[in-house]
Amino acid sequence: MTKKAEQGRTEGRAEERAEVGIKERTARQRMAKFFVAGPPLVFLTVFFVVPSLIMIATSFRFPGEFGGLAPIAAPVVSAHVSQGLEYGFTLEAYQFFFSDILYAKIFLKSFAVAAATTLICLVMAYPLALLISRSKKHLRNLMVLLVVLPFASNFLIRIYAWMIILGPESGLSYFINAVLGALGITPITLLFSPFAVLVGMVYVHLPFMVLPLYTNLEKHDPALLDAAQDLGATRWQRFWRVTWPLSLPGVFSGAALVFIPVLGMFAVPDILGGTGDILIGNLIKDQFLGTRDWPFGSVLAIMLTLAVLAIAGLAAWFARSAVGQRAT
């Protein structure tokens, strides 16, 4: 998109319209905008909005006897239909969700895991992103390549690799337990634990934190740091008062890219988790497969979507106020 187009978009349409001479050009620009933005918009409408609507409709139905959904209208009586089958619309699944504190607990737990993962990713990714952004140009590209390199192999294979690394017969386990043994502490198991789940989550999502941070940090003007130094700022002050506030938009987009997928993740706790590691993603998956309760699964998914939207809104709001602060 041209610089002009970006300006036109941000400065508002009233001004655009006021400029009589370039009216025709604006119309053309709008056409161009449509051609650029149209296909993804249509795609998302069809494949995001429509399924979401279906999901909402599903949440108000009764589950079918064999999975799927019970019919909306009274079925024609036949031998296949068991007695007393319910049909039509209902709030039953929502009632079930709110009738038990259990489901709120699972949400809380999933949010805690997502928050912990995000925090750990941030702490690990920030120095790395800073290092990459301050390296020489040819090194930078190589380092970014290294960050995304794990994507070259399949996600499940990488998680399975952690099973070996954390397994009780692994070198890592032996080493840790040897150290603990020397200190007189009983040996621990790494695999099948909340710790293993967290390791897996952080490992998978780390690049999603590094990349937005790097794109943000790379754009910082080094002159700002020089100016701060000239004004007597220490190293720490230069980071805390200049670099960190400027990087906040990157921090928030990285946080959103980590937090949201972790909330819905079910494969990592399935593979690396122990007997208590159930997250909201596992519960939703189970409603559609094992339990075959689509309406309740839809209710859980809707609640998760609402929570995710709330968080995304919150992140956007934080980013905005961070940017606003910088402007004043």
Partner: protein, 376 residues
């Protein structure tokens, strides 16, 4: 960058995340369309919807030669997945190999085509003990293919060393045994299977739906849970074979695989397996004809072919599956045929039960109980 634009990029980034899911979704649809489009009447192709690794490669070759046709397979790894795919509209399979309760669902949905037994002379080879199941009285729709037992697999040396019993569910539920093998045990990550084991141990039927009995079973599970390493549906195969696990609740086919792997890699221990004396879950997989299949003729040919002992035995020799075919016994390798865990004696056979489907209310309350168990 302006405020609005940055908010937009946030939204954009979030939406970007949904793309892979959508792509997966659409390719999933495309595959179904394909399976719908391919089986033309003129073509000599039999479409089989089967479990992963549930037919020997040589059997496929022999059958293709025998019928002068092609065998095209799609796979599933559990019944729910198969039912979900069919519920989503997958059609055009001539044959499916569901387990009893899933077959029950398919029958009641009216999704199956009745068999023409005049085309199946080899049906006499099947052990009558595996015919006339509650799911399909009179075998109108189904012919038994193979079966699995849900049992206990263990590291023989370790368990003997610790002097633990292997013929009872007590070993996975009683703290007095479990404390010796803490963190070295996994149980199936399946609501029905684990509840079935607990119910059997308490002396109830695996199909008991009494809320009070469920609660007792759940308490038993919660009490034993701290000693288990994890709920595991597949990884126990590898973990048993490399020696990380000493005991696992799992399927007989998988234990057969684990024993084979441990032997191949020369780990210095053996993996044994046994069926608890309280009884266990028997999962009988049967061949059924989908109503929307285009080649019932080839499907009948396939069923009759698989009922020949020699062909049926090939699968058992490959994966250690239980075999309901009496004629097959002579072709099965003796170390498998003599394995009491795979071929139980009549007394134990009488104590095996098949899981029946729960109704939707029971499913929902079992799911809640299960979530509670996991969170505790």
């Amino acid at each position: 960058m302006s405020i609005r634009a940055s908010a937009r990029t946030h939204l954009g980034a979030i939406l970007l995340f949904l793309l892979p899911a959508l792509i997966l979704f659409t390719t999933g649809c495309a595959r179904q369309d394909e399976s719908e489009a391919v089986p033309g009447r003129g073509e000599n192709v039999l479409h089989l919807f089967n479990w992963n690794n549930y037919i020997a490669p040589e059997t496929v070759r022999h059958f293709e030669k025998f019928c002068n046709c092609k065998l095209s397979q799609d796979y599933y790894s559990d019944n729910e997945e198969m039912l979900a795919k069919l519920a989503a509209g997958a059609t055009g399979y001539d044959l499916i190999v569901p387990t009893g309760n899933a077959m029950d669902t398919l029958i009641r949905q009216g999704a199956l085509r009745p068999l023409d037994k005049s085309l199946l002379p080899n049906l006499r080879n099947i052990n009558p003990a595996y015919l006339e199941t509650v799911f399909d009285p009179g075998n109108k729709y189904s012919v038994p293919y193979a079966y699995t037992l849900t049992l206990l697999g263990f590291n023989e040396e370790k368990i003997r060393e610790l002097e633990l019993p292997t013929d009872t569910w007590a070993i996975i539920f009683e703290p007095k045994y479990l404390k010796k093998i803490k963190g070295r045990v996994t149980v199936l990550d399946s609501q029905r299977e684990l509840m079935a084991a607990a119910l059997k141990y308490l002396g109830y039927s695996v199909n008991d739906t009494d809320e009070e009995h469920w609660k007792q079973a759940a308490e038993l599970i919660v009490r034993a849970k701290p000693y288990w390493a994890a709920f595991s549906n597949t990884s126990y195969i590898k973990e048993l074979a490399v020696g990380n696990l000493w005991l696992a609740h799992g399927y007989s086919n998988d234990m057969f695989q684990a024993a084979l792997d441990a032997k191949k890699t020369g780990r210095g221990f053996t993996i044994g397996y046994s069926t608890p004396r309280e009884g266990a879950v028997l999962a009988l997989d049967s061949m059924v004809l989908q109503r929307s299949g285009n080649r019932p003729d080839l499907a009948h040919q396939f069923i009759n072919f698989m009922l020949e002992g020699r062909n049926s035995a090939e699968l058992t020799n490959l994966i250690g599956s239980g075999n309901p075919n009496m004629d097959a016994m002579q072709y099965i390798r003796p170390e498998i045929a003599n394995n009491k865990a795979i071929f139980p004696d009549p007394e134990l056979l009488a104590r095996l039960e098949m899981l029946r489907d729960l109704d939707r209310k029971q499913r929902r309350s079992l799911s809640r109980l299960w979530t509670e168990i996991k969170l505790r």
